[in-house]
Subunit: 331 residues, 2 copies
Amino acid sequence: MKKLINDPATVVDESVEGFGWAHADLVTVHRDPLYVVRADAPVEGKVGLVSGGGSGHEPLHAGFVGPGMLDAAVPGAMFTSPTPDSIAPATLAASSGRGVLHIVKNYTGDVLNFETAAELADAEGVEVRTVIVNDDVAVQDSLYTAGRRGVAGTVAVEKIAGAAADRGDDLASVASIAERVNANVRSMGVALSACIVPHAGNPSFDLTDDEIEIGIGIHGEPGRRRIPMASADEITEMLTTPVLDDLGLGGGEQVLLFVNGMGGTPLSELYVVYRKARHLVEARGAMVARSLVGNYVTSLEMQGASVTVLRLDAELMALWDAPVHTAALRW
Amino acid sequence: MKKLINDPATVVDESVEGFGWAHADLVTVHRDPLYVVRADAPVEGKVGLVSGGGSGHEPLHAGFVGPGMLDAAVPGAMFTSPTPDSIAPATLAASSGRGVLHIVKNYTGDVLNFETAAELADAEGVEVRTVIVNDDVAVQDSLYTAGRRGVAGTVAVEKIAGAAADRGDDLASVASIAERVNANVRSMGVALSACIVPHAGNPSFDLTDDEIEIGIGIHGEPGRRRIPMASADEITEMLTTPVLDDLGLGGGEQVLLFVNGMGGTPLSELYVVYRKARHLVEARGAMVARSLVGNYVTSLEMQGASVTVLRLDAELMALWDAPVHTAALRW
């Protein structure tokens, strides 16, 4: 295993410490328990937004803490849910009295731990609502999940809910907007290679030199099928068609098209995928109104990509366009 | 070779086409010859900035086209310099009559081709000045270079010269600012793995499972030495100490600290490197005033990182902070 780390036992702490120093204008890192919170938290008069999950998917979630998006992010160990004793304090730190929304990717550990944390926060007088993100159309139930997994669509939920909180929406409204994004976003991914979790030291699964996995999860969970290596256009079609079908995308609709890198694939290749995915969206008579291309929800150094499509209405588009200032997303 | 491409012969065209569609608000892609230019070029009353080089280093350079940075970028084939017949038209497209600055990484092919293009543009009445970026302290002379190579410091040159052009500086002043950045910036990189150039189909060099290359170039050119795998802190020290020594960094100075990923290394590891590099800068009594961490000057899917330090004065800091709106850098 060759990695730029010192020790599997300290990599998350050291990485988050470095992150906090690099972005001290935006965030404060709380140690023991570990969480990342807006430097100006709690923000008066605003619903707080908290997300989190296993580390190894950076920039998700800490890279999305800042004005217009999250108030706090809770990193667990690599590919391991954070525990309630870190989620609950992060929730309190994000609370200014108007309640807190938990944005949770649908993995059983995360769902349970955020639920317990919500109860702890409630006992402290902080009202918590939860939205579960489950945008991955690849499989129903998976290695760590009952139901569909939450993957790159989480970025859209966090961005748009963040904008709704920023404009002053109350907790029920922010939760409702987040649910609307989740209901209108679908994703599917492919792996060309596995990644190595530091404390494991070995690839999380095996792929031969001529094999790829369609419908991969962001922890290397099994997807739909393994197939021989194919062209970018063929692979992109295998990802995009199920996404568009599941979404029931029709002519005249407008979408956000988001091509996400799994961490180890060159940016140039992500734009090749984007090009074909855009063809496929347009072939249905829909229009790509907004685009995002890059490594946002990763699996360490996994090579691969995912295609995410979000159906936009005028309100969701305006909230997507609203200003955001975080380490990983800014406009 | 597993890559998200259709054909090594078309990957650059398809990638740039996708890039153009994804960022149509910012750029226009000109086909045959291939270059990327600001959608609103030429910008009246402003010195034009043009850069370019072999593809495979994305987001460099096309990702830096937009207000506050480049006016045009010219992508060559993978790891291959663009030719004068594409650089010259890009130069004309970027020209509004106040002259054009070529920002060229120091590789012999790029230097010669940009020089010829400058002569062609001059014949069309466009005054061109050139700054050669050579920030890599690892080696003197290399596989494709006489003298030091130009690597991640190019981002600082393009950003800061772009801000100088934006505030209305004339060609000589913009060139002078760019030279000042180059004189005050140093970089050094490490590879944990090689990358595969699509048309080659094989790794550009061989590293064993326990071996890394200190001082690697961004095309996999040999560095200073191969050593057994070491800890992130040890490796970071091997990169940062030569950078700080060469820069002659002293106590009380302020710097931009930039940790750049080579493309295949997880973001979490880049922050581990940043953390140690920051310790080392501060141990000299200098202050990290600005930070940048991410994949900006890559080598396809190479695993590794580089450390760049730019000595800042008040003017360079203000120009770094000036607004920028490109696909890859925005504030």
